[in-house]
Symmetry: C2
Subunit: 233 residues, 2 copies
């Protein structure tokens, strides 16, 4: 079907993924990028912002993870199929297709890729645990502050910040589904953050006005991210 890409015994890295992309496809916001079914390809987010999306039968939606450029959309789905989560585009997205065989050999992870796969899963686990703390124990205000601290750290690590600003591309409705609140309340909390001089969010673009104060409001400790991100950079 497709060419098997040799890995030349090199350890797979996050940046090295791009060389494995065989074909790129473009998606408008709100489109579904990956369903639960596992196909012939792994999907690398080349640009844009995507979200891991869980739907309840009555329409409630929770986004359980944000996928940034350079990350894989469906690594988890390869390892554990039949999980009812899909990946949706939160902004205009470009997706790169990587042949499954470049990372997997039958159902096993190729040895050259194991460290990478483990690191990716570990990073996802770490971020998700922090989100659990947010949803369980932080107020809407703290939660919002914490999310933007996290996003700045992650986007800065991949060179996608512009000073203290960055484009998100996602709407307030999407933010609400990340933070477990309603879009109405997202609007109000953003207004408070702006009034307090911490953060401005408008036209899908965020500007951090006072980074120290924002971190303090969120009780943000970026250590949890640096560990996972640096180990295999």
């Amino acid at each position: 079907m497709h060419t098997v890409v040799p890995l030349q015994r090199a350890t797979l890295t996050q940046t090295g993924l791009r060389t494995l992309v065989m074909r790129e496809r473009s998606f408008a916001a709100r489109k579904t990028l990956v369903d639960q079914a596992r196909g012939e390809h792994l999907h690398l987010l080349v640009s844009g912002l995507a979200g891991r999306c869980h739907l309840l039968s009555d329409g409630r939606r929770q986004i359980t993870g944000l996928i940034l450029p350079g990350e894989l959309c469906d690594l988890g789905a390869q390892v554990r199929p039949q999980v009812s989560a899909s990946v949706v585009a939160l902004s205009h997205c470009v997706l790169g297709e990587i042949p499954r065989s470049a990372v997997f050999e039958s159902d096993r992870v190729r040895p050259a890729c194991t460290q990478f796969v483990i690191a990716e899963l570990a990073r996802e686990t770490t971020v998700t645990a922090e989100w659990l703390v947010s949803l369980g124990r932080r107020s809407a205000y703290e939660r919002m502050a914490h999310l933007f601290c996290e996003l700045w750290t992650r986007l800065h690590a991949i060179g996608m910040t512009d000073g203290m600003s960055f484009d998100l591309g996602m709407t307030q409705v999407d933010l609400a589904d990340v933070l477990g609140m309603t879009s109405v309340h997202v609007s109000r909390v953003l207004k408070m953050l702006s009034k307090d001089g911490l953060l401005k969010f408008s036209a899908r673009r965020a500007t951090i006005l006072d980074h120290d104060a924002l971190c303090r409001a969120a009780a943000y400790e970026p250590a949890y991210l640096q560990a996972g991100l640096m180990q295999f950079a």
Copy 2:
């Protein structure tokens, strides 16, 4: 320091872990089992119930994962150190020590163990994502119902249910920190569940009175667990 246990080229399985335990230690409830520092051993929960515990500076606590007998406490910490989560005993616990070298070779996962490590991390991710949906989008009542559905499935899979009952060993305060609510409200919700004939919880023991109704109240779909659990059983 300690003997290196040969793995005889066999794939590591969850049950196979027990043969690697070199020493067992006993802990009272509320004791800290594992700190973030990674030591010479991996810790297998032999019996009891443990929780992955995140503390905020003002005392708020969120438990981001429950560890059941047969699971490893600190696999994640081996892969990504310096994460500020500790593992605490929620009931009396017996912990088995497994030499790090049985699973890791310097900082790499031993090839014979990679599938197991990946499966464990993937299972953790799956459960955690479902908890995010609970905390973000389900009411306290639904959340509680969903947790007990999940626990019954997981405990049943390892033969630790007794009909429709099972011992948890954890208090309502612990339940509150799992579910992101106060212990006062836990008490009230449990009373409602009992009045509705779905679930009884007393003396740290749960009895599911109407499994179908409980699943319906929680909109519970056990598929997400079966995948992860069966793959390497």
